[in-house]
C-alpha cells in the first residue's frame, strides 16, 4: 500500500483558496497574539518567569481562578445538560423564551452582568439580604466569583448538548425499555454515553471561558489579595505598573495550565468516543 498523500485530493474544488483564507485568518487573530505572548516570555527568560510566578500571591490567585473555574464548569455541566434536556424534551409555556434567554450571558457585556449580580447579591441587595440573615455572604466572597463564573459559562454546555439531545429519538429509550432496562440503566448506559462527547466539549468551553473571565468577576469579587484576587486581575495590576514582562509571565502560566487542562479533556473525549463506537 502506498502512503497516503499529505493533502488528499477531493472532487470538491477550492481547497487552496479556503485553506489559504483559514490559515491567514487564524494567523492574524490567534497565532500572532499567542506568538507575541510567547515571544515576550522568551525575552524575559525562564528563570525570571519562574521568579514572577513562584510567589504566594500569584499561586493563591492561580489556585483560586482555576479551582473556581473548574467548580463552575462542573456545576454548568450538570445543570446545563438538565436545562438542555428540559428544553428539548418537554413542551411547556414560555419554553421558547427560556430557550432564547439561555444565550443572554453571551450577548450581555460582562461588566453589566457583574454589576447586576453584585446589586442582587450584595448585603443590601434583594437576594444578598436574605442570605445575609443566615450569615452567608455571597458578593465580595468566593461565592460571588463562583456565581459570576457559572453565569458566563452556562450557555456553552446547554448549547453544545442541545443538538445532540434533539438527535436522540425517543425510540432509543423505548427500545432500551422493551429490552428490560430500568430507567436509570437506560440513562447511564444509553443516554449518557451519547451525550458525553458534546457535554465534555461544553465543559471545556465553559472552563476556558471562566479561567479568562475578568469583566464580570471584578465587580463581585472583593479583590482582596490572597483571598479573592483572581489571576487575570494580577495581570492587570502588573500592566498598571507598566511591567509588561511580569504580566506576560503570569499570562504564560495561565496559558500553560489551561492548555494542559484542555488537552486532558480532549483525551477523555477521544477515549469516550472510542468507547461508544463512532469515532
Amino acid at each position: 500500500m502506498s502512503r497516503a498523500p499529505l493533502i488528499q485530493r477531493t472532487a470538491m474544488p477550492g481547497l487552496g483558496l479556503s485553506a489559504g483564507i483559514t490559515f491567514f485568518m487564524l494567523t492574524l487573530v490567534v497565532a500572532l497574539p499567542i506568538g507575541a505572548l510567547l515571544w515576550q516570555g522568551a525575552n524575559f527568560g525562564l528563570s525570571n518567569i519562574w521568579a514572577t510566578i513562584n510567589r504566594d500571591r500569584v499561586w493563591a490567585a492561580l489556585w483560586l481562578s482555576f479551582r473556581l473555574s473548574f467548580l463552575a464548569a462542573c456545576f454548568n455541566l450538570v445543570f446545563g445538560v438538565i436545562l438542555a434536556w428540559v428544553l428539548v424534551r418537554y413542551r411547556f409555556p414560555g419554553r421558547r423564551i427560556i430557550d432564547a434567554a439561555v444565550d443572554l450571558p453571551f450577548a450581555l457585556p460582562t461588566a453589566v452582568a457583574g454589576i447586576a449580580l453584585t446589586a442582587l447579591y450584595a448585603p443590601n441587595g434583594v437576594l444578598g439580604g436574605l442570605t445575609d440573615q443566615i450569615g452567608w455572604q455571597i458578593a465580595y466572597t468566593r461565592w460571588g466569583i463562583f456565581l459570576a463564573l457559572v453565569f458566563v459559562g452556562l450557555p456553552f454546555v446547554t448549547r453544545t448538548v442541545q443538538p445532540v439531545i434533539e438527535e436522540i429519538e425517543t425510540e432509543v429509550e423505548e427500545a432500551s425499555a422493551t429490552l428490560g432496562a430500568s430507567r436509570s440503566h437506560t440513562l447511564r448506559h444509553v443516554i449518557a454515553p451519547m451525550l458525553m462527547p458534546a457535554a465534555l466539549t461544553g465543559f471545556a468551553l465553559s472552563l476556558a471561558r471562566a479561567v479568562g473571565e475578568y469583566g464580570s468577576v471584578i465587580f463581585i469579587a472583593g479583590n482582596i489579595p490572597l483571598r479573592t484576587e483572581i489571576a487575570p486581575l494580577l495581570i492587570v495590576i502588573q500592566l498598571e505598573e507598566y511591567n509588561y514582562d511580569a504580566a506576560g509571565a503570569i499570562g504564560l502560566a495561565m496559558l500553560a495550565i489551561s492548555f494542559t487542562m484542555l488537552l486532558f479533556i480532549n483525551l477523555i473525549q477521544i477515549w469516550s468516543r472510542k468507547r461508544i463506537g463512532h469515532v
Binding site: 453584585t118 446589586a119 458578593a139 472583593g222 490572597l226 486581575l233 502588573q238 505598573e241
Partner: protein, 326 residues
Amino acid sequence: MTLFRLIPLACLTLASAAQAQTTLLNVSYDPTRELYREVNEAFAAHWAEQGHEAPGIETSHGGSGAQARSVIDGLAAQVVTLALASDIDQIATTGKLPTDWQSKLPHNSSPYTSTIVFLVRDTNPKGIADWGDLTAEGVEVITPNPKTSGGARWNYLAAWAWAEANDRDPAEFVGQLFANVPVLDTGARGATTTFAQRGIGDVLLAWENEAYLALAELGEDQFDIVVPSLSILAEPPVALVEGNIADDAQRELATAYLDYLYTPEGQALAFKHYYRAWDASAADPEDVARFPDLDLVGIDDLGGWAKLQPEHFGDGGIFDQIYVAP
C-alpha cells in the same frame, strides 16, 4: 456599485470630513467627565469667538494608568490630563513629550488640584473624625486598589502623610488601615458605587470632587463629608503630547486649550466642578467658599513621584508588603 466598493469609499468620505476641521483628542482620567464636558463646550465657543473655525474636541476617560498605556501604545492624544504626574512621566519615557514637561505650565502643570476627604454615612454613626479613627476595630474602609487606581495612590499617601505628621509608624498605620478594607475596587468610581449603592463600609476615601459629586447625585441626606485634619495636595497634571501633534494649526489649538484651563473662565469651571483651582476671580464665590480649610501636604514634601512610585507601589513595594511579607 457593489458593497465592496462602497465600504472603502465610505471610509474615505468619513476620513476627509474629519480632516477638514482641526481636531484635538484629550485623554483624561475617570472623574473628570463632567468637568471636561463643560470645558470643551466653553473652549469651543471661546475659540470660535477669536475667529477660528470650530474645533472638533474629543475627550476619552478611563483609569489614569490605562489611559497612559493607550497613549504609550499609540493612541494619538494631543493633550493628556491625567491623575498622576508619574503616568505622564511614563509617557515621557517614550519620547512623545519632553521629560521636563511639568515645568512648561504654571503650578506644576496642574490647573486645578484636589484632595482626599472622607465620605461617611449620614450622621456619621461610627464617629469618624480623622485618619486615626479609620484603624479602629469594626470600622470598614472603602478605597480602590492603589495598584490599579491613580486616585487610590493619593488616598494611601494622604494616610501615610498623616501618620508621619502624628509620629506614628506610617507603614504600620497604612497596614492597619488596609486591614480594614473589605473590598478593593479597581477604580475610583467603582469604589464609590460599592460604598454608596451596595451599602458596604463605614467610610469611603475619595477625591474631594467625587465626594461632593456623590452628595449632589445621591442625596445630601444619606452621606456626610468629613474633612480630616491633614490631607494631601493632589495635583492632576496636564500636558501637551509633542509627538502626536500633526501640524501647526493643531499645536496652536492644543496650546490654547491647555492655556484656557488657566484663564479665569476655565478656573471658574474647575471650581464649579469641585476642584480647588488657583484663580477665583471669575468663579462663583459660593463655589469657592464651600472648600473647608485643612493642612495640605504636597507630593514633593513626601519625596516626589519618581521616588514614591517604585518605593510604595512598585512590584514588591511597601503596599504589596501589607498583604504579603517580603
